[in-house]
């Protein structure tokens, strides 16, 4: 198990300052990119009052770790951290954190984007939105499938 990859699936919120402090200790790290995904108040279906995230315990952690491993194999990275929340969330709540620590910015930027693209198409999470018309399961988006194709060398799924 690669100790440079750390993943967490949790109902509680994450603290970016705390996560940053934990990640950034090594002076060899010259670049850190952080991505935070949040619950939007608006979806295609209208106003969103609540979003509930379901996942597949066990497989989720395994897939997130595997995505981190593939990023470490492709770019020059020091550390990868992925945190994803599950359960009921409100608009403006944080959903997902991806942190990438590298020697240089190019690797950090690219790897962070690729990790998110793979997370969106491979990690077993499902969103259900509460809207004025009732609850609806969010559909998978075709543009997420296209986005992930940019990283074809990393796409070594069986």
């Amino acid at each position: 198990m690669d100790t440079n990859i750390s993943v967490a699936v949790q109902t509680t919120d994450f603290d970016i300052a705390q996560e940053y402090a934990r990640l950034a200790g090594d002076a060899a790290i010259g670049a850190i990119v952080q991505f935070v995904g949040r619950v939007r108040e608006q979806s295609e279906a209208g106003a969103v009052s609540q979003m509930t995230l379901e996942h597949y315990p066990g497989m989720t952690e395994k897939v997130l770790r595997d995505i981190g491993e593939r990023a470490l194999a492709r770019w020059h990275l020091h550390r990868v951290r992925i945190v994803h929340r599950v359960g009921p969330l409100q608009p403006a709540d944080q959903i997902v954190l991806v942190q990438v620590a590298a020697g240089h910015r190019f690797d950090a930027f690219e790897a962070a984007q690729a990790i998110m693209d793979f997370l969106k198409t491979e990690a077993p999470f499902w969103k259900q939105e509460a809207t004025p018309e009732g609850a609806r399961w969010v559909d998978a988006r075709e543009h997420d499938e296209r986005a992930v194709q940019r990283w074809s060398e990393m796409n070594d799924e069986p």
């Binding site: 379901e54 198409t121 559909d139």
Partner: protein, 82 residues
């Protein structure tokens, strides 16, 4: 063999988990055929051309993947996290 259902499929089937013996041909395709024979939402949601994924032992697999009595199977819609 334990089978889990997630997301919209869990809701439509009204079932999160069940235990079945592996199908005669011991493949994912055989299991799907068996589930479709239940008719109704099972036949509809698991029909050819519908978008769903099957994982065996927590990895997404193609229809010809083998199954064993101890396999952990999951059937779910395309993922929507992030």
């Amino acid at each position: 063999m334990r089978i889990f259902y997630f997301g919209r499929l869990r809701q439509v089937f009204g079932l999160g988990e069940e235990t079945l013996v592996p199908p005669a041909d011991a493949t994912v395709a055989g299991l799907l055929a068996q589930l479709r024979q239940r008719g109704g939402v099972w036949a509809e949601e698991l029909a050819d051309g519908r978008a769903f994924r099957v994982a065996v032992d927590q990895a997404v697999v193609p229809p010809d993947a083998p199954l064993q009595a101890g396999s952990e199977v999951a059937i779910f819609p395309p993922v929507t996290g992030g």
